[in-house]
Structures are given as C-alpha cells and as structure tokens.
C-alpha cells in the first residue's frame, strides 16, 4: 500500500492548468510599446518591441519607433528593430528619418538602406517634368548625406547610391513621360541614375510588355535623348512598378570602372560617354522588362565599346542561360572580361520572378 501511495505521489508531476500564459504571450499584437511589457518572457517581449517600433514607424511616428528600439539591448534585435523602423519609415515616404534608423542598424545597415530606398513611394506632385526637380533632388541628397555621415564609412556611398537610384526611378518610371531634359541637366553625381530612370520609362512606353520589343528600341531611345525625336508620352502606371532584376555582378576586372545601383540592388556599368551610357541604360531597361528575349541583346555582344559589350554579354547570359549557343561561344571566346562577366552572371545570379516590389 505504501509503495502504491509513493507511486501515485511520484507520478503526480502534472497539475491541471487553466492559465493561458503561453497563449497570451503569443497573441500580443502591439499597437504600442506598453502592450509588450505585459509579456513576462524576454525572448518574446523583445521581438514584440520590434513589432511595436515597426508599427509606430508605419504610422509615421518616428519618436515611438526610437523609444521602442532603444528599449532593446544592443545586439541583434536592436539592429533588427532599426532595420524594421527604417523600412517602414521609407515606405511611409519619410526617407531621411528612415536613413537615421538604417545607420543605426548595425549588421543590417546595408540591407536597411536598400530596402528603405526602394520602399520609398513616388511624390505625387513631383515628376520628371516638374519645375523644381533638380532643386528637390539636390536638397534630398544633402539631407541624406548628412544622415549617412553619422554612419560608418562604408555605408555612405552605398546609402547614397540606393537613394539616388530609387529617387530618380520614382521621378520617371510609370509617370507616362520620357523626357530627357531633366536627366540631361542633372548634376554630375545624379546623371547616371537619371539616365537609368529615363531609359526605363522610355523602354516601357516604346515597348509594351505584351508585345515583342521593336528591334530598334535602343536607337529609338537614343534618338529621343539626342533630340532627334520628340519626348515619348503614354499611359501612366501606379501599380506593379516591378521588373526583372539581378543582384550585383561586378567582376574583378571592372571594379575600377564606374558603376551605379539599379532597380532592386543590382549594379550597371556607366558608359564612357553620355550617349554610350544611354545605350547601356537602355539595354538594362530592356532586361528589366520581363518579356524581353535574348535576341534584343545579341547585336551588342560584338559592339566595339567595351562597356556596352560587357553589359550585353551579362544580359545575354542572364536571359538565355548556359545552354544557349551564343553564351557557349562567349565562354569559349578570347574576350577575357566578357567571359568573366558571362561566367559570373551564370554562376552568381539567376533572375527570379516576380521581383522586389517598388512601392506603388
């Protein structure tokens, strides 16, 4: 009998529990920081503070976002908190405030700068034909530069690169006008980004995605740039400002050649002259257009201009893949840099669809 009682007591290690502590901890959806403080477990409370920061930032409440992030100890979750706040503020159009969080996002600072920039929505009242474009862009650049100066050295160039790329994209893409005037008058530091954006909108208007791209689209865009043809007008789009993109491909051989950020975090080479750069930007814009096939790039693989040829080689490889005869021919050819470009495009990068979504 004693043994039986001992067994009953020894085994009675569970008691009926009606408390819902675990469920309650998992069910907190913080509208404000205080909501997180009733979670008794730090491992659940800290991510809750990150959610509170993101929520505040999405509402444009920068102060609330800072309070939430600073309530987290330095380390992974505080970095993530600033990253989330930066993304949300960027998406709310508060890009300078977003960048302030990004430079504090530690290990995630670079990701944050890219995400915040590309989530930035277009300003309804400001497009490429507005009167005050250049002034607005220069002011934005100055403000962002001042913020980035507070961050570590490596972030400054990258942050500005992403921001200018996205800001010019917003001025042109989907706006229904491809007018080169403002891109031509852009300050030197903005010029390549402006040409990228002009080319993207020009290609969108000249080569609707549902039809095959005209074989002379590069010449047409160049004609508009040179003033031989009138600026292009067409339908505006507000939604689905998306396209095919790739992560950066910058072979060792061309590290010293100027390149700039493009849609979604990729890079493109900058041409040796303004017109050469328009050709490169147009080829990249054709790749952004998801329905463009390899045939659009093939004529440029034999171009005499190095940067045009290398760009075309990369885009041929990305759009056709390793089994394509032209790609094989390049890989077996004697143009060393072109081969490296094509090889890196094949090995490092396969474009996937659908892509990163720029803000509507």
């Amino acid at each position: 009998m004693i043994w039986l009682l001992a067994w009953i007591f020894a085994c009675s290690d569970s008691v009926p529990v009606e408390q819902n502590v675990a469920r309650d901890a998992l069910n907190v959806s913080p509208a404000e920081l205080a909501d997180c403080e009733r979670i008794p477990f730090p491992e659940a409370r800290i991510p809750c503070r990150v959610s509170a920061a993101a929520h505040a930032a999405a509402m444009g409440d920068d102060e609330g976002a800072w309070s939430a992030c600073m309530s987290i100890e330095e380390g992974l979750w505080r970095d993530e908190c600033h990253f989330r706040a930066g993304e949300e503020l960027g998406g709310a159009g508060r890009i300078v405030l977003a960048m302030k969080h990004c430079v504090r996002a530690g290990r995630y600072a670079r990701n944050c700068l890219t995400h915040a920039s590309w989530k930035m929505p277009p300003v309804e009242t400001l497009d490429s034909v507005s009167d005050n474009v250049i002034e607005s862009m220069v002011t934005l650049e100055k403000k962002v530069k001042a913020v980035l100066a507070e961050g570590r050295q490596g972030l400054r160039g990258e942050g500005l690169d992403s921001l200018l790329s996205s800001a010019w994209f917003n001025l042109y893409y989907g706006r229904g006008v491809a007018d080169p005037s403002v891109a031509k008058s852009a300050p030197e530091q903005h010029a390549a980004y402006a040409r990228t954006a002009f080319a993207l909108e020009a290609v969108r208007l000249l080569a609707p995605w549902k039809q095959p791209a005209p074989s002379d689209v590069v010449e047409q865009v160049l004609g508009v740039w040179q003033g031989k043809s009138a600026r292009i007008r067409g339908e505006k789009i507000r939604e689905r400002r998306l396209g095919r993109f790739v992560t950066p491909i910058v072979p060792e051989d061309v590290r010293d050649v100027s390149h700039v950020a493009t849609f979604g975090g990729g890079f493109r080479l900058v041409g040796a002259s303004e017109e050469e750069d328009v050709v490169i930007a147009t080829l990249e814009a054709l790749f952004f257009r998801e329905t463009t096939t390899v045939e659009s790039f093939l004529p440029y693989v034999k171009d005499k201009r190095d940067r045009v040829r290398w760009t075309a080689g990369k885009l041929v490889a990305l759009s056709a893949g390793q089994e394509n005869d032209q790609v094989k021919a390049i890989l077996e050819g004697t143009d060393e840099v072109l081969r490296t470009y094509v090889w890196q495009a094949l090995s490092k990068n396969r474009p996937a669809m659908p892509k990163v979504k720029a803000s509507p």
């Binding site: 043994w3 001992a6 067994w7 020894a10 085994c11 009675s12 290690d13 569970s14 008691v15 009926p16 529990v17 009606e18 408390q19 819902n20 502590v21 675990a22 469920r23 901890a25 998992l26 069910n27 008794p40 477990f41 491992e43 659940a44 800290i46 991510p47 990150v50 959610s51 992974l76 979750w77 993530e80 990253f83 290990r107 995630y108 990701n111």
Partner: protein
C-alpha cells in the same frame, strides 16, 4: 519500485515543470529544461513534442510548445530557426514569421 519509477518517468516527461501551477514559472521551467539539450535537434524535438495535454494536464499545451519554439528561435535565430518551422498554432506561426520571414536574421554571420 524501480519499475514503478521508470514507468512514472516515461509517462510524465519534463522534470517537475508541469507540477508548477504558476503559469509563468512553469513556462520558464520548461524553457530552462529545453536549453539543457544544447542545440541537439532530436532531443529538443522529443522534449517539445512530449508536452501534451494528456501528459501534463495543461489544456494549453499546444501554446506552451509554440512559446518554447519561439523563445528558442528568438534567443538565437541562426541556431534555432528550424524549430520555428514546426510552430503549430496561428499565433505561433505569426510570431515565428518575425524570424523566418527575415532571411538576414537566420543566416550565419560568417556566410553573410
């Protein structure tokens, strides 16, 4: 007696955490216990899966399992992201998305 104790141990599971009537203390006890497995996936999975209503008398055992998963993953996303993929409740899955939906958090720093 030995047989009785063995039978008892195999039926009850995790030390005496389940005998704690205070919910917070019980959840903390479970969390401390699971951390003793030092990242061993099989042991952690067996331990967590063993927290059932039948064995513990806790009608919210499913939430206890998910809270453990989330706490582990949040404490070290690179090491424990895998366990968050096994979340069972809507709330647990939602919380785990804060980690699993953020690829940079689950990548080993050396590979970044």
């Amino acid at each position: 007696m030995i047989w009785l104790l063995l039978a008892c141990f195999s039926s009850g599971g995790s030390g005496d955490c389940h005998s704690l009537s205070d919910g917070e203390k019980r959840e903390d006890c479970l969390f401390q216990e699971v951390q003793k497995f030092s990242g061993d996936q099989v042991s952690i999975r067996i331990y967590i899966d063993g927290i059932t209503e039948k064995k513990t008398g806790n009608k919210q055992a499913i939430y206890s399992r998910d809270l453990l998963r989330f706490r582990l993953a949040s404490s070290d996303p690179v090491r424990y992201q895998w366990i968050c993929q096994e979340a069972e409740t809507t709330a647990g899955k939602e919380k785990c998305r804060q980690i699993l939906g953020r690829p940079h958090m689950t990548q080993d720093k050396k590979r970044r």
